[in-house]
Amino acid sequence: MIASRSTFVTVIGIAALGLAACGPSPVDPKRQIGPNPYLPPIHQYLMPPMHVAKIVGWGPGETPTVPAGLKVTALAKGLKNPRSVYVLPNGDVLVVESGGPKAPVNRPKEFVMNWVEKKAHSSSKPGNRILLFRDTNGDGMPELQTVFIDHLTSPFGVVLVGNDLYVADTDAVLRFPYQTGQTSITTPGVKLTDLPGGPIDHHWTKSLTASPDGTKLYAGVGSNSNITENGMPAELGRASIWEIDRATGAHREYATGLRNPNGLQFEPQTHVLWAVVNERDELGPDLVPDYMTSVKEGAFYGWPYSYYGQHIDPRVKPQRPDLVAKAVVPDYALSSHVAPLGMVFNTGSGLPAAYHGGAFVGEHGSWDRQKMNGYKVIYVPFVNGRPSGMAQDVVTGFLTPDDKARGRPVGLALDSKGALLIADDVGNAVWRVSAR
């Protein structure tokens, strides 16, 4: 009997070791940054690593870390899930406090996932509103704070065109009338168009920008699953960038196959639309690298059928060889699971010359690989409207040395003095990075 019991324990022990230990050898993230990332073979775990940073927040006086020549200060603290920032022409800073809708449980796995995600996100109840911060004395720091627009539905993207302020809730683009200098809008928003929202709403952040001529809006609509596990009908209109006519609200899919596109921005030199995209999970710690890319009209970028061109994802059935054949390879990989959610081109001159002309990317950070990746803001140099050279870390220190999260960067913007603003959703702060 004793023999059989210990045999049983041994068998379970070996099985557990097998689950935990066997994994591919790690890939240096640097090999996955740039136009030609190294793509290791697919590795599907029996028990995928879940390594979520426990949130500890910022202690008194603690700030992120910046290189010499820059300084960082808190523009605002004690917020409720600040997810994105937008700067109005008069210099007022809008901060979108937002949280996603409650995730449904369709499978036993989702019990576990919801619990894990809860750990990774701020425990403070999201504001689901937009705050306004005004610097009245020109020192770069705000003296006035107001609630700009209240009672929104998981808002994320904001863009102003003329006197029309557009807010992308998770389920609709709303238009609000705005006059320069206004500190609060109480007029209810008018719906320009519906966006794919609940009931699942897996990727819920809807990024928003306007074409340089102001006639069109572009909204990032993320997929409704990691990799079609909620069925293809749930993906209608998703994993794409919508082009919305500002006058009529009519829309079409401008580009597709982009799993979770965020940080939509027009590159200032070439006037081409760019996005940062969160790629798929659970193919291993080093697959699939997230990326930033110029977005070509009518192009298909692979999701769900393939990644980086014609690399087939075996989890997707039925396959679509016709679409895979025309899948476009993205421009610039950012390495795996960094979760880029914000991007801004540095059009200003407020920061040192080393940061002129390129793009800052806010990396929310990984949760499904043993060694943390992301949790920082990086700078990607651009030459002639194209990424050129290695990305470099700009704002770090969001993780403690023992992998706990003080904060996680999300949306980015440049303020009227050319300083970089960073929404930090679990640190409940907005950071301002300026020249020293």
């Binding site: 068998v11 099985a15 689950l19 599907q44 028990m47 499978r107 796995k109 079609t228």
Partner: protein, 153 residues
């Protein structure tokens, strides 16, 4: 007469708990194989979801079934004296380990949560259960484990 049969120690009002609950995981794991096969053929995600739920329920009830089985096994020397009781227990132990691994495979997303590994594991579990279930029924119906005939006057 009654005293001759091996006793079921984990029993409720004279009914063995192990035999009462064992059908639940058997049906769940057999059902998992059926819905896996349907998903393999249709790629309709609902069937993969049903498989995952069946597996989970089967595993949760299995905890009680195993506990009752272990109590019965160690509760009466006459049960342990049966060679088939050992085979039944160890075989089900293997099936359970495979079913746990299968639950992890089924927690993957979309097609590879079932095809091919999940489907193979589901089939192996059912094959093992056919054998161990056959032996288990022999323990009751041939060896009378837990059977207490009423004394007739």
């Amino acid at each position: 007469m009654a005293g001759d049969n091996p006793r079921s120690t984990a029993s409720l009002a004279g009914r063995p708990i192990h035999a009462m609950l064992a059908p639940i995981p058997i049906v769940c794991f057999a059902g998992t194989l059926v819905t896996d096969l349907v998903y393999w053929k249709t790629a309709t995600i609902m069937w993969a979801d049903v498989s995952a739920w069946l597996l989970t329920v089967g595993l949760i009830v299995s905890i009680l079934v195993v506990l009752a089985g272990i109590i019965d096994f160690f509760g009466d020397r006459r049960v342990r004296a049966l060679r088939s009781a050992w085979i039944h227990g160890l075989g089900n132990g293997v099936a359970l380990i495979l079913a746990i691994a299968n639950a992890f495979v089924h927690s993957r997303d979309a097609y590879t949560s079932v095809v091919p590994t999940g489907l193979i594991l589901s089939a192996l579990v059912v094959l093992i259960l056919l054998v161990t279930g056959w032996i288990g029924s022999g323990l009751v119906f041939r060896h009378g484990v837990g059977v207490r005939p009423e004394t007739r006057s």
